[in-house]
Amino acid sequence: MVEERSGNAAICLEAVNKWFGDLHVLRDVSLSVQSGERVVVCGPSGSGKSTMIRCINRLERHDSGRVAVNGVDLDESTRNIQTVRRGVGMVFQQFNLFPHLSVLRNLTLAPMRTLKLSKAAAEERAMAYLERVRIPEQAHKFPRQLSGGQQQRVAIARSLCMEPSIMLFDEPTSALDPEMISEVLDTMIELAENGMTMVCVTHEMGFARRVADQVVFMDEGSIVESAPPGEFFSTPRSERTRTFLSQILAH
């Protein structure tokens, strides 16, 4: 169902390999994500899942294979890289807000510099997305004055201000205190329900069950299994997937 349509997929990875020195972190990874599809990537730490999604916006450079996003090939061309990045938002585990800029300025910087929006237009857009993540009252504060959950929602809004067609989430709730996880997940669920193409590296299996079209399990740099959530959780095909699921769902 996936392979034959890979020509016009939103994200297309074909036999991607990557090494960190001698360490083979991605082994022949192939993945195709259609527009509007939500993919959750899980796996033990060190399995290459973060590296894989970081290859999608070229925060990591793949050593062999092909990565294409919205039909644009990621190669050495700076123009291609910028084109892809303009259409792909990313949310990090550590938020990575700009600490010296106010929340509003965090949100308006890239639209003004990269999309050449006027200040007024960028601020209007920023306020709209702050409303959407439900923290418009924090616009004039600095990141360090916000809780972790609020910072992560600002980070999501900052990405959305570029109006990307794809959002990547790299363990967005792993650095959060337990009571703040749900406010971030709610924001992500709302995004998913509005048709955003999403690739999420996360261990939040409840989230995966609720929004994912496809759950991908990675181990030792390879994609071991990929299935719709119902099938993935009830009848995992590989032994490694079963072991992993029993470990994280044990409690």
């Binding site: 990313m90 700009f98 910087l109 510099r113």
Partner: protein, 259 residues
């Protein structure tokens, strides 16, 4: 303020020492009570303007030249980066006194133009300072977390915008304490320009010492002159740090009321 008290304490203890052993100290030479003393004080203080002037020029030039130099490294180009390393190593290896002498006595032979002591000293010390400033910038940028670069990249900011709006504002703020340190060093290094005849405070003190035969009092006065200048400069740097919020992780600043 604390530094004013410190200054007062040092000054008073020196004066007390002078009174206690009046056979060794002869403060009359710079006593404001006598006409001769007043003329001498005026003579010594006339060097302060030159010291401040050359320090300001050197600080400004080294801040700017250091940044120009650092941008070779910042370009990300391997060859420019190599060039950067070479220039920094060469500039840092030349003792500032040697470079002052070379620029003042050597450069005119080579270039066929005469520079006055002020210009020669400024050129030599600014180049020397620029190498250190460039390394301070490099350290500041290196201290910025990788996530900041990645966030800027993921937002498709251009390299220039990433540096200008995200990385450098944070890096410069972190560099301020090291820059302040460097500025104090440059103020003190301006004393070296006395060897080529700039009438700054050291030159003035030397000139008076050989006519009055009172080196102890005159050089003590010189020590006090530098103490006042350095403490004032330090206070200025700390004020700028506070203004720019560069002291936000300073435990002492956290204890300060009204922040």
């Amino acid at each position: 303020m604390r530094w004013m008290k410190l200054l007062l304490a040092v000054g008073l203890s020196l004066l007390l020492a002078g009174c206690a052993s009046s056979d060794k100290w002869g403060w009359y030479v710079i006593s404001p009570a006598t006409k001769r003393g007043r003329i001498n004080i005026e003579f010594l203080l006339s060097g302060v303007g030159w010291t401040i002037g050359i320090t300001i020029c050197c600080v400004i030039l080294s801040v700017v030249l250091g940044f120009v130099l650092y941008s070779l490294h910042l370009s990300g180009n391997r060859w420019l980066s190599f060039l950067y390393r070479g220039i920094v190593e060469v500039l840092r290896s030349i003792p500032p006194l040697v470079s002052i002498l070379w620029v003042y006595y050597g450069l005119p032979v080579l270039a066929g133009v005469d520079f006055n002591p002020f210009v020669s000293g400024t050129v030599a010390l600014s180049l020397y300072g620029a190498a250190f400033m460039a390394e301070i910038y490099r350290g500041g940028v290196q201290s910025i977390e990788r996530g900041q670069f990645e966030a800027a990249d993921s937002l498709a900011l251009s390299t220039i915008d990433k540096l200008r709006y995200v990385i450098l504002p944070q890096a410069l703020r972190r560099s301020l304490p090291a820059m302040g340190n460097q500025f104090v060093i440059m103020l003190k290094m301006s004393s070296l320009v006395s060897v080529i005849g700039l009438s700054e405070v050291v030159r003035r003190a030397n000139e008076l010492a050989v006519t009055e035969y009172r080196p102890l009092e005159i050089y003590t006065f010189l020590v006090l002159e530098y103490l006042v200048l350095v403490l004032a400069l330090s206070a200025l740097v700390r004020w700028v740090e506070r203004k720019l919020g560069a002291d936000e992780h300073d435990p002492a600043a956290a204890a300060r009321p009204g922040q």
